[in-house]
């Protein structure tokens, strides 16, 4: 484990290079370039706001500042789902490198995760610009955001390692992932607060670290504090366990990649 971390550290420049390449290629030859990064959260926010405003307005339990609520949820969720969906096939897509050149293969799924950070930063900047229009004050609580994002990155990176490796051995993984990630979004408080619909209480959903992560993010933005410290701590625990499990398993199986791909 220590050796594998050391090796990844030695190849950090490569990791940086791959992230840069990903970003460059994603918006190369597009008309509006990097603006695509905020295009879909904004569009979806407009759609969800207009659809849901009909039956949330005026009722009890209506969500205040719903557009902000949806937008912040989507921004965080897209960082998660976008990273994973490019990570799941990243090893298979780079099979010529995997079978021909030696370097720690971890850099592939990790670069898939890190390269989505730029999109997220832009989405975050737009969110901060939106705040005054919804009369939300900017507070010191926003400083929680880096911590929350770090926890989310750990969780995402762990899953990215496992998924990319899983898909290398069994191509079914990608298809399973595609369905699961959609269901997962609806089992997370992205477009509605999860408590308002869950009949299962919180038992099963407590295992979903994305709920406390998104809730914590919203707390930091809207209330200027870490609103749910205990669930968030639990989520952090799950996130780092996932990361270490991912790294350990990946390192253990790495030498089989070239012949099984």
């Amino acid at each position: 484990m220590k050796k594998s971390l050391l090796e990844i550290w030695q190849f950090r420049e490569l990791l940086g290079g791959l992230v840069k390449k990903d970003i460059k290629l994603r918006y190369k030859q597009t008309l509006i370039g990097i603006a695509w990064a905020v295009f879909s959260p904004i569009t979806l926010t407009l759609i969800f706001s207009s659809v849901f405003s009909g039956f949330t307005a005026g009722k009890t339990g209506a969500i205040p500042r719903y557009p902000l609520f949806v937008y912040s949820g989507l921004a965080v969720w897209f960082l998660f789902s976008g990273s994973l969906s490019s990570a799941v096939s990243v090893l298979v897509n780079n099979s010529s490198l995997v079978t021909k050149v030696y370097f720690p293969r971890e850099v592939f799924p990790l670069s898939a995760v890190f390269s989505k950070l730029l999109d997220f930063s832009l989405a975050l900047a737009v969110l901060l610009i939106m705040l005054p229009f919804f009369k939300v004050p900017l507070s010191a609580g926003l400083l929680w955001i880096p911590v929350i994002v770090l926890v989310q990155l750990a969780f995402t990176a762990g899953l990215a390692l496992l998924l990319s490796m899983g898909n290398l051995f069994f191509r079914d993984v990608k298809y399973i992932f595609d369905s699961v990630i959609t269901i997962w979004m609806f089992a997370t408080s992205v477009i509605y607060p999860i408590k308002s619909v869950s009949p299962l209480k919180n038992n099963l959903l407590a295992l979903n670290p994305m709920i406390p992560i998104i809730d914590a993010f919203r707390g930091a933005v809207f209330e200027g504090r870490l609103s749910n410290p205990i669930p968030f701590m639990l989520a952090s625990g799950i996130a780092f366990i996932t990361l270490f499990a991912g790294l350990a398993l990946f390192h253990k199986m790495e030498y089989l990649f070239a012949e099984r791909i």
Binding site: E13, G17, L25
Partner: protein, 531 residues
């Protein structure tokens, strides 16, 4: 001496064909095991390497030869750490760089500049090291003008040159090279070889896998012959290569065969006179004249294959040869074209220098004497064909760079038939062009490919009567045409397959029906009998 690489009983099992990578197979297998069925052996599995024991000392350059599927590439992948052995132990000390596939790390949409940084770091270079080596990488590859062009718009040659150039700038202890030297044009190949020589001199370990026996011989101090995952023979390069050649001749697959004359099994000589022989000429008495590019002379052999003498001494100037490529014998005169000396020189058959034609040559390469007593010289740098009188007066010049009729891209050989028609092999256009006695273009044949009617770098030509032989360099074949229909199209009458690793360059008829061949990058001259 310290061992750089040590194989101790290393075995590696691989699986042929498509791998079963669906969850269904995994599930059915685990359910089967649950019910006590023993795990069944995968019928597609085979041992790519079996019980390999080998030591490679630091600073040694070791070559691996053997037919496809012998386990050479698997072995490189084990050394590189891409795979792990199933059995045995493999110790590697030092940093390893693998040149297994050039340009594998390139992304087509990124520019040359961006790819240098990306590919360099994939190969393990530090950013500062890449910055330092950057201009050297670019100039070695010769892509200065195309630095900011996406590599998807590069020609294959540029792509490969850039890949090789990056690899040559890696700071590493062990370099793994798999079949990469037969790339690019001849100039670049020479550059690559120089770079590898320097690499070798700096005390680094080279592991070289190639079908090009000539490169193996010139680069390696030890050669290992692998077959079906096992070592057949290891040790002295010349000995192992000879054993391999005589073995593979017996297993050649072509329908038509050229039989190697035993006495001419190898023209290799310890005096290093024959290094990279190109052009060939045979006197009516059966003496063989071979222009030795790297031996800086024309080596002369008796009909039985004994080295008699060397014409010319190394250098540039009168009577000196630097890289002689073409040779023609006419009466008592031996004409030699010297690529680097940019001239054609005349010697007597005894080896006395009698004159030089300088003209306005760039890189004179191919050479033949026409019936009209004139001399035809192909110039591979000016893409032109010159016709000179015996006194050296320019009679006619034609050609120019291009791929149209009468244009050339690397004209490397000329031959003239009894009716005065001139045949020029146009290497990079992968065709042979035919000109009438007035040197007007009539017909061309061949295109790029590996089919019977196709060429991959056609080299020298030899004509006797109505028979034309073409050395199809990178296809490892010699092709026979009937040219009685010329000015109509010549008709293909035979394809002679050689061992895959033998890349024929020069070709000439002996006084009988025998055929002499030289091979790219080797020290070999072969004498063949058709049938």
């Amino acid at each position: 001496m310290q061992n750089a690489i040590e194989f101790i009983g290393v075995s590696k099992r691989l699986i042929k064909g498509e791998r079963a990578t669906s969850l269904r197979d995994l599930l059915s297998e685990s359910i089967g095991r649950l019910f006590g069925k023993s795990r069944k052996e995968n019928p597609d599995a085979f041992w790519a390497l079996k019980g390999l024991n080998l030591q490679v000392q630091a600073g040694e350059s070791i070559g691996f030869i053997g037919e496809n599927g012998a386990g050479k590439t698997t072995m490189l992948k084990l050394i590189a750490g891409i795979m792990k052995p199933n059995e045995g132990e493999l110790k590697v000390s030092g940093r390893v760089a693998s040149l297994i596939e050039l340009g594998a790390g390139f992304h087509p949409d990124l520019t040359g500049r961006e790819n240098i940084y990306l590919c360099g770091s994939i190969m393990g270079m530090k950013m500062t090291a890449i910055k330092e080596a950057f201009s050297s990488i670019v100039s070695f590859a010769g892509i200065e003008e195309f630095l900011d062009t996406p590599v998807k718009r590069y020609s294959m040659g540029m792509f490969v040159r850039l890949g090789f150039s990056i690899a040559m700038h890696l700071d590493t202890d062990i370099m793994l090279i798999d079949e990469v030297l037969a790339v690019g044009d001849l100039n670049f190949q020479a550059k690559c070889r120089d770079a590898l020589d320097r690499f070798k001199e700096s005390g680094k370990t080279i592991v070289f896998v190639s079908h090009d026996l000539g490169s193996v011989l010139s680069l390696c101090s030890k050669v290992v012959w692998l077959s079906k995952g096992k070592i057949i023979e290891a040790g002295d390069p010349q000995k192992v290569v000879n054993a391999y050649i005589s073995h593979s001749e017996g297993t050649s697959e072509s329908s038509l065969k050229l039989r190697r004359d035993g006495a001419w099994a190898a023209g290799y000589d310890p005096a290093n006179v024959v290094r990279e022989p190109r052009g060939l000429a045979v006197s009516p008495e059966g003496e063989v004249y071979a222009a030795s590019m790297q031996g800086h002379c024309v080596a002369v052999f008796s009909p039985s294959g004994k080295l008699i003498k060397a014409i010319g001494t190394a250098g540039i100037g009168e009577g000196k040869l630097y890289s002689p490529a073409g040779v023609a014998v006419n009466g008592n005169v031996v004409f030699v074209s010297d690529v680097s000396g940019a001239c054609v020189q005349k010697f007597t058959r005894e080896g006395v220098f009698t004159g030089a034609f300088r003209g306005s040559f760039g890189e004179p390469f191919g050479l033949c004497v026409s019936g009209k007593d004139s001399l035809i010289v192909t110039d591979r740098r000016l893409f032109k064909v010159f016709e000179l009188s015996r006194e050296g007066r320019m009679v006619n010049v034609f050609g120019g760079k291009g791929s149209g009729d009468g244009e050339f891209d690397f004209p490397v050989a000329a031959a003239i038939d009894g009716k005065g028609f001139l045949y020029i092999s146009d290497l990079n256009n992968h065709r042979v062009q035919v000109f009438d006695p007035e040197r007007k273009f009539i017909v061309s044949f061949g295109s790029f490919g590996s089919g019977d009617e196709e060429f991959n770098g056609p080299h020298d030509l030899a004509i006797r009567g109505n028979t034309l032989f073409v050395a199809d360099h990178l296809n490892s074949r010699v092709k026979r045409y009937d040219i009685s229909a010329v000015p109509g199209k010549p008709e293909l009458t035979g394809v002679f397959g050689l061992e895959r690793s033998m890349l024929p360059c020069g070709i000439a008829f002996g006084p009988g029906s025998e055929l002499y061949l030289t091979f790219g990058g080797t020290e070999l001259i072969g004498k063949y009998l058709a049938g």
